[in-house]
Amino acid sequence: FAGLADVSISEDIPVEGEITVPVGSHSPDEDYSTLDEPVKDTIMRDLKAVGKKFVHVMYPKKSSALLRDWDLWGPLVLCVSLALMLQGGSADSKDDGGPQFAEVFVIIWFGAVVITLNSKLLGGTISFFQSLCVLGYCVLPLTVAMLVCRLVLLAGSGTVSFIIRLIVVVAMFGWSTLASTAFLADSQPPNRKALVVYPIFLFYFVISWMILTFTPQ
């Protein structure tokens, strides 16, 4: 190290600078620091993300927030609540009743996986989980429809209630399909858009049919 002693800076050149590195707004340091934050903050952040996506679904504009930060919490919550509400239809243990909890669950998730595979096989550029996320979140209007249907059925189950339920379910079915198409259509090759949209239409149609034919015991 003898040679290093000769290196010196002349006295009349000031040396300036900052030791600290400026931290950007999306630095990865934030992820490491979430270990130390209170649990409430973590949960609230995730809940806010989920809530923001709900809002995006109800007012579908072309925003990439749904696609970029995908999560599956929202779809899980929606699927479980829809399956819970659909259960109990014709629960007199006859074979010809409505769908059971597991059947609704499987239909929604398996249907979403099949549609995602279909769009990827046709050449879509969306990732697997992003598509699952969009399809799951767009079940929200139909869950709202199920809630409304159950409330209407509490009041009575005559023709008037059926017409109300029909209108609500049809409107929510259209909303779901349009919302998911608005998010997913851009990532498909242009001459195959109809091939990708049709299975989504069929998926939400089946869910709507299950909601409409729900008859409490």
Binding site: D96, L122, G123, K193, L195, L202, M210
Partner: protein
């Protein structure tokens, strides 16, 4: 002596022109049943080629195999391998559906529409649609038939969806498998000029089921005569698509075997239609109210004879 030109790599356009110049040239297709790359055909779809094919006659020449583009071979464990079976555009799927609903006599569905580009999109989603259409229509029709009866309580009959799914998917995939195996076996004994790959057979069967979708919707009408007329009509249409596809493949064989094969194809198709009608759609009843006696399990059914 072989000309130098014969040794040069020839573009596929030249092959079409060669055949156009000499239509009687024998064309041989090398089909090995065990060869997986048979199903990998690149897409060489140009609008001009369709006119060439139609001029040369589409019945029993294998030039589509000759003209098939370079095979994009991907190993079967990669995603790209399966993407080859979804290499269709919207207009192609719609054309194939149209071809299955309006069969042109004398034109082979596979040669005319599939053209070495069998897809799995059509068969899969047509079967899925058919499953749900039959289940929903059956449920609706039963609801309308039994509406107004005091003891009738509406049930969504959800179990029938899984039964419908099993039946239709088994028909659309196992019957082509059996048929393909049978045709391969006969091919080894009798040199047939026309042979189909497994995916092409699946394609034909899948697209031929499309006519049953509007038929199932119209079966909601609770009139027995209407239902049977509809069934006959759709059976004729889709059966003719199947017959016109498979007749060229078996006609060089022993006469009886050929007729038995085609007869079995039509019979299985008819069985599917009749079975669906009988199981999912209750028989329509007459209009006057039927007295309900507690001794019986349910309402007595009187059907129009």
């Amino acid at each position: 002596m072989a000309a130098v030109d014969d040794l040069k790599f020839q573009e596929f356009d030249d092959a079409a022109n060669l055949l156009a110049a000499n239509p009687d040239a024998t064309t041989i297709s090398i089909d090995e049943p065990a060869e997986i790359p048979k199903n990998q055909r690149g897409r060489l779809q140009e609008p001009g080629r369709e006119e060439d094919d139609e001029l040369l006659g589409t019945d029993d020449s294998d030039k589509t195999e000759l003209l098939a583009g370079q095979k994009k071979s991907a190993p079967f464990w990669t995603f790209e391998y399966y993407q080859m079976f979804f290499d269709v555009d919207t207009y192609q799927v719609l054309d194939r559906i149209k071809g299955s609903v309006f069969p042109v006599p004398g034109k082979n569905f596979v040669r005319l529409y599939i053209r070495s580009n069998p897809d799995l999109y059509g068969p899969f989603w047509i079967c899925a649609t058919l499953v749900f259409t039959i289940a929903v229509s059956g449920n609706l029709s039963n609801f309308f038939i039994h509406l107004g009866k005091p003891t009738y309580h509406y049930v969504p009959e959800f179990r029938k969806v899984s039964i419908a799914a099993t039946t239709i998917y088994a028909y659309a995939w196992l019957v082509p498998l059996a048929l393909w195996g049978f045709l391969m076996w006969r091919n080894s004994k009798v040199m047939n000029i026309v042979s189909y790959s497994f995916l092409e057979i699946v394609c034909v069967y899948g697209y031929s089921l499309f006519i049953y979708i509007p038929t199932a919707i119209l079966w909601i009408i609770p009139q027995k005569v209407v239902r049977w007329v509809l069934m006959m009509f759709s059976l004729c249409l889709s059966g003719s698509v199947l017959v016109m596809t498979f007749w060229p493949a078996v006609r060089d064989d022993n006469r009886r075997i050929a007729l038995a094969t085609v007869g079995t194809i039509v019979l299985l198709h008819a069985l599917l239609a009749v079975g669906c009608l009988a199981y999912f759609f209750d028989a329509p009843e007459v209009d006057f109210p039927v007295p309900i006696t507690p001794a019986h399990n349910g309402t007595t059914v009187i059907t129009k004879s």
